[in-house]
Symmetry: D2
């Protein structure tokens, strides 16, 4: 059993250590951490040292087996925070199932593998191991989060020097390739497509996406950090999850549909994990957007700001996990969507 609790804590800056105190005050230990999923306030792009700073603060303090995923970019009303997935195997009376989670790091990727088949395979393999570890099937899974590397100028130059061709010579563009490969690896592991189709999708020749994949890239790591969140009868806790997808960046209906299900179950929304991207066709519902022609602000920043504005209003606060760049994570122009919620404790039972 790896039942979990979820603690969402605001941060005052990327190096804020207050969440560790909250962990302790809530009765958990650092050793209980399965994963820390944070939004930090950098640009979310190549030179985002807010992520690196957060990583430098968190990595030395968490268990070897735990992983961090810091996603930069809190444009607009988005609020910097961390989501701590904590091991909590207590049996909550009145519940016969619950959320479980497991995390691990993949092997280190060679720069030449970034954005390519080897990354697809590596992520698929890591997700597969996590499913086995949790004892769940793909159908039980509601969210797979991946943090994966990108290509810096140094890595690109090194590849060229070695006679190799990098997947992209633009550092920002390399982030998209890395997210794409990770997401297709997730799709393969979840049985949403086979490997051959995934590779064709990576080459632009197939349209494949997963509504449960959430991948972000960063310069602060060389391997892939992977977290799987699923529902399982091996746990007994009040956390539940739903997943779906936004068809485009203003797809209010799809979000409301999930929130209605939560309300119908009497649940309380605990967190929304969403991916967002500028529609690659340059328009949303037939009207032109300017995210792809704005040379002052990268498209991923625009997309987070817009979708963050919508989801924050729906959740009622800005501590939402909206990550930019949704290649193969939801349909083009849209994005994957997971809502974690908490059921009320049934009457007549006590908290564990």
């Amino acid at each position: 059993m790896t039942g979990i609790a979820l603690l969402t804590v605001p941060t005052t800056d990327p190096g804020d250590t207050r969440p560790f105190e909250v962990l302790t005050e809530t009765g958990y230990r650092t050793d209980d951490l399965v994963s820390v999923i944070g939004k930090t306030e950098g640009n979310g792009c190549v030179n985002d040292f807010s992520r690196t700073l957060a990583t430098a603060v968190w990595e030395p303090r968490i268990p070897e087996a735990a992983v961090t995923v810091f996603s930069g970019g809190t444009e607009g009303v988005l609020s910097p925070h961390v989501n701590m997935f904590v091991r909590d195997d207590r049996h909550h009376p009145g519940f016969d199932r619950g959320l479980v989670a497991a995390a691990r790091r993949s092997r280190v990727l060679d720069p030449g593998e970034i954005g390519r088949a080897n990354q697809v395979d590596t992520v698929a393999d890591t997700v597969g191991k996590l499913l086995a570890e949790l004892g769940v099937t793909p159908a039980d899974v509601h969210l797979v989060l991946v943090k994966c590397p990108l290509l810096t100028s140094d890595k690109i130059t090194a590849l060229h020097a070695a006679g190799q061709v990098p997947v992209a010579t633009d550092t920002y563009a390399s982030m998209g390739w890395s997210r794409a490969a990770s997401s297709l690896g997730i799709a393969v592991a979840l049985g949403e497509c086979d490997r051959a189709t995934a590779l064709r999708a990576l080459a632009g020749a197939a349209d494949v996406w997963s509504a449960r994949a959430s991948a972000s890239a960063g310069a602060e790591l060389d391997d892939c950090h992977v977290l799987v969140v699923a529902e399982s009868p091996t746990a007994a806790n009040p956390l539940r999850a739903l997943h779906g997808h936004m068809a485009d960046a203003i797809d209010l209906a799809s979000v409301q549909e999930l929130l209605s299900q939560v309300a119908a179950a009497g649940g309380t929304v605990r967190q929304i994990f969403a991916k967002a991207e500028a529609d690659p066709r340059g328009s949303v519902r037939g009207l032109r957007h300017t995210m792809l022609t704005d040379s002052d602000i990268n498209a991923t920043r625009h997309a987070r700001g817009a979708v963050g504005g919508l989801l924050s209003a729906l959740k009622g606060d800005g501590a939402v996990y909206v990550s930019g760049g949704a290649e193969h994570q939801g349909p083009p122009g849209g994005g994957s969507l997971t809502v974690i919620y908490e059921l009320p404790t049934p009457e007549g039972t006590d908290a564990p």
Copy 2:
């Protein structure tokens, strides 16, 4: 009578002249234009030449009495477009009232007057003349739009050379002062506060705001362009308006309240005019935002992106008029809000 019709037309770039053709195709002439209110795709700040380009294209073609208001910034899903308020004094059968509008330019402001009492007075005076011209009372008004000047480096240097003190030495900051003075002028003209209170508010010593004011500043003009939109029994058309305000940038409830009223009346939303700003306290509902500490993207761009994401989703498309910088236009951190909608033609009547 100055009854109006409203045409909202997407633009392919700030210099796009397609809307003139739409005007003609719809049966109007350029001479019918009362005002053109556009969103252009620049940064919405000091060096936004998308506004200047649009102005250069429109000003020579519209009637002397008409005014343009181009608001830069289509962050996120916002879509560049123009809203043409066209004189249409036809009596629409089945309607005994309708929307009316009038516009005019104020006198030219001296750079030393920008952001100061003289600008408050000038705008108040111009709005007053427009109310008189329309024959409406402040209670009939749903929207007052103002475009006003800002201080460029040249103007600041000229003021210093003349021994005068500009309201701000930072060009971007001067935009806020100009918007504030315009908005307080609107509040005075609408009887929402007296002149003395407005001046104290400008000095930071009073909390005054108008839910019907929408002001934006630009380097492309030296006077103030003012448009008043009101409801009046002197017109007979299917257009109606509602106004309210967002209490903060994620105030979904206030927007939904207005939209519910439109739905209850059987109406169709034609346009939403909203102001947005980064909450000056640095947080939204107790959670920190980073719009005011982001030195890469100005706060007004963040605010437009977030509120634009919400309102576009609610309207169902990105051609929404969201303008950044809401000093005295709605409460701090929130913004003024006007919804223009169209009632169905009553059964048994024909369009004029």
Copy 3:
């Protein structure tokens, strides 16, 4: 004969029409304009409407045969200005040769041709016609300036819809491809490489560059604007030019070498035309630069700012023509360089 004079005039904004007055005051007519080469103050990238605004102001006023080249981006100390090349066929006593110039527009390029062989050929063809028109050989040429189109979101979507593959799906990246194709067309026309080599260079398989090519891309045009400046015995004026290249962005020695030649000839520097780029290897003389990993400011802006700082200091003022993105215009990381200078009128002679 097409002898020329050069007028460099500061501008107060991209739409400033003061240079037309200067033209008249100096004794020229608008009809004398051969070309207007301006620096405008936008971002120099895809959504640079300062270029479009300048184009909208200039194009209707200049002769059909004249061309405009507006290069956006006046980062740092660079100062917005226009360089007017004016036909002046007067024989200046004491001179037996002088600068000549000619300009023309190419055919319109289809979006699918941008950045590809057809653009190379089109530019080469246009340059060839201008050489013939001027009656000069490639050896006489000191500068070939080209303004060429880029791919917007709309054009990319249209290509995809037509089943075509654009040279780049990123709008900013398309600027680099267009500049590359134009520059290689210049190299072919000047006999610096053959067509086959140019096409291999475009494919990344050959290292070819011209020290006399200066290309910039913009969304404001669909054809290519081309200007050739050469020295010729058919003219008799005091203008002369030198060309060379900067080996990297801090190559002070190469610039000083040209300036020393000017000084040795008793000349006065009238203008410097330079291209600048972030070294694609990520370092300058072995030290890492961060232009290619900065996701907040595009690399072309960085490069203009740095090289502009150096050249402005050497010229003594900021009205220097530094254009960003130097693909095949000078060696990688460096850029082409042309100095136009004026010889003193020999003693005992009078100005014409």
Copy 4:
């Protein structure tokens, strides 16, 4: 005695620990560090977490008495690096004087003190203590570097809540006020003006500046870090320094004058410390610049890029310390300038 050596080491990222190895390889210990003065690759403005990351890596490893000054912003050709001032009291044969340095941290400043008289006094006091510690007079000093705090949104809100008025409500503007107060404190300590004049200068009523002051602000500290570098007969080493100022951002002559003195002495330039700013009058030598009207890139970034381009070309590499925002550090539009150089070891002597 506190003779020093200077080690300048490139960094691969703000958290790079390679310089510690270089320190050891060169024969020094971490305990020998007097101060670490680094250029990191963030935006150099409010949300520059590259500085915070560098601070997080360095502060725990250096002696209690040592101070760090990380200045963000390596625009253009500037290259991220650290300058380690290391205690080296060995007597270098053949030298009868040398560079000395000392550093310390001031008391913590209350947010309400930032940019005000108390900060002037605090910095002046700290510099005074360092002069006494070194046993030097103001005339011996060539450089005083200060890192000082700024106002974040949180601090501004806290001041307002406490009924206090912050020196600025714009976080970026607060950096300028803090630099100004620190620089005037330096001027007072060096006897360049008296306290009353400094306070009048802070209020904009006097024109005072120091050619030896270099101040930068950051969110990563609450006190002031101060380093004094002077020449003294109590040391015997080959390091020497010169100081002067740039009159404007293209003041090549002033830099060349210092470099000529170095060359005349047979010295080798080891480092250049310069401040840069956008001329507050909006022009350089009569020609308009656009740094103050560019709402996409802050003026300090522009200024560093331009001056960095010039100084890197003169030094021959990009590892130059150019810091932006030169309030009272050199004349308006210019900046303070210190060149550290190394004399050759006299013949017949051996290195210690």
